[in-house]
């Protein structure tokens, strides 16, 4: 547990600040930019915007979560960090769990906050906003897990970042289907399914990502 907290502290400070200051804000600004551009593209038809706005927020959130993918695992693999941790008896599973939690903390709370002005921009009503917020709360852990998983899988590949983005999108489809689907049914069932899929990803990722890192050692 002590090791976990030390790792979490490091990962979080690297993802949030340090040399990459401002990079955290980037997914959130990206998310807001999509919400801002959407009415321009679709036109000022309030009912259409209100009906489709929730879904657009979901797509924006998904894409925003992909942005930091290239700096999630690859830099540390090159640094030899995981080798040094392994020599100290700290498993890759623990390191990846810390990374997953840090990744979620670095983008999800800010995204949930940004969803408030974003929903105003696309003109969704309060009930829809509530469903979007709950859905994102249920879905973002899955997005964070997926991000770490794919980042670990592609870390040892050349040009892995671009491939990583492409890999995340199809794998995130269930989250999107259930999460955005909960908007049309207005219901808890969709959110519960989103949460369930999120949980599966969160449960698998530490082991799959750790295996990917060990195999990258080759």
């Amino acid at each position: 547990m002590r090791h976990f907290l030390i790792l979490l502290r490091r990962d979080l400070s690297l993802l949030l600040g340090g040399e990459r200051r401002g990079a955290t804000l980037l997914p959130v600004l990206f998310f807001l930019a999509v919400a801002m551009l959407y009415p321009f593209a679709v036109g000022p038809d309030a009912p259409v915007l209100a009906r489709t706005g929730g879904g657009v927020l979901w797509i924006a959130a998904l894409l925003a979560a992909i942005l930091p993918l290239d700096r999630l695992v690859e830099p540390d693999l090159e640094l030899g960090l995981f080798d040094q941790l392994a020599l100290r008896g700290i498993s890759e599973e623990l390191a990846m769990t810390a990374r997953m939690v840090a990744h979620w903390l670095s983008f999800a709370p800010a995204l949930l906050l940004a969803a408030l002005p974003a929903s105003a921009l696309v003109g969704t009503d309060v009930a829809t906003l509530k469903t979007v917020e709950l859905g994102l709360l249920a879905g973002t852990p899955g997005l964070a897990a997926l991000g770490v998983l794919v980042a670990a899988l592609t870390a040892s590949l050349r040009g892995g970042a671009a491939l990583g983005g492409l890999l995340v999108i199809p794998l995130a489809v269930p989250l999107l289907v259930f999460g955005a689907g909960s908007l049309s049914t207005g219901g808890e069932a969709g959110i519960a399914l989103t949460a369930a899929f999120s949980l599966v990803l969160v449960a698998i990722t530490p082991f799959a990502a750790a295996a990917a890192i060990r195999s990258a050692r080759g």
Partner: protein, 192 residues
């Protein structure tokens, strides 16, 4: 320092299609140093990684008593952080070590981001991390790369001190390095 031992039996290593070495055995106990010599690409780094448990040998076994400290070409220090902070992360994991930053010539560099350090300075910083770990078994992969004459003397002194305290030091280097006891093996004797 507690008693430590590093034993390898009949190691063989394959990378891709190539068999790098075979039939390699060694036994090191407290206080012993060993240099592994050999040309570039002969498998020195692979041997170090096998001994560290990071790479699986094709055949053979490795037994370790005591924890491993590894120094290779990657310093494992965050390039964006000032050196002091980058070292603090390892101090948190390893506990307060006895790394004397002044002795390593680093005391003036603690505020400098790791990415701005020269090759030799990075090597010294990695040595600080290694010292702080207080591991009895040292595996050093080309520790002299990028170091000036003073740095070379420093590494030799640190290794001598480590062995005098009952540690093991295995140094893979193509350059001459003075080790306590002066034992050396040449990987060319084990090539397939």
């Amino acid at each position: 320092m507690q008693a430590c031992r590093l034993t390898a039996n009949n190691l063989a290593c394959q990378r891709g299609e190539r068999l790098l070495f075979r039939g390699l055995g060694l036994e090191l106990t407290s206080g012993q140093g060993l240099q592994v010599k050999g040309a570039n690409g002969i498998g020195k780094s692979s041997l170090i990684r096998i001994l560290a448990g990071l790479l699986r040998p094709l055949v053979g076994t490795v037994e370790r008593e005591g924890s491993i400290g590894l120094l290779d070409e990657r310093p494992a220090l965050d390039p964006g952080l000032p050196l002091g902070q980058a070292l603090v992360f390892w101090q948190r994991l390893d506990g307060p070590g006895d790394a004397e930053l002044a002795q390593l010539g680093l005391s003036g560099l603690l505020e400098v981001p790791v990415r701005y350090l020269s090759t030799g300075q990075k090597k010294r910083a990695a040595l600080a991390r290694l010292l702080g770990q207080e591991a009895p078994i040292w595996l050093l992969d080309e520790p002299l790369n990028g170091l000036d004459a003073k740095g070379v003397a420093l590494v030799e002194a640190l290794v001598a001190q480590h062995c005098a305290q009952g540690g093991i030091a295995l140094v893979a280097s193509h350059q001459p390095i003075a080790l306590p006891g002066g034992a050396a093996i040449d990987l060319a004797d084990f090539t397939a």
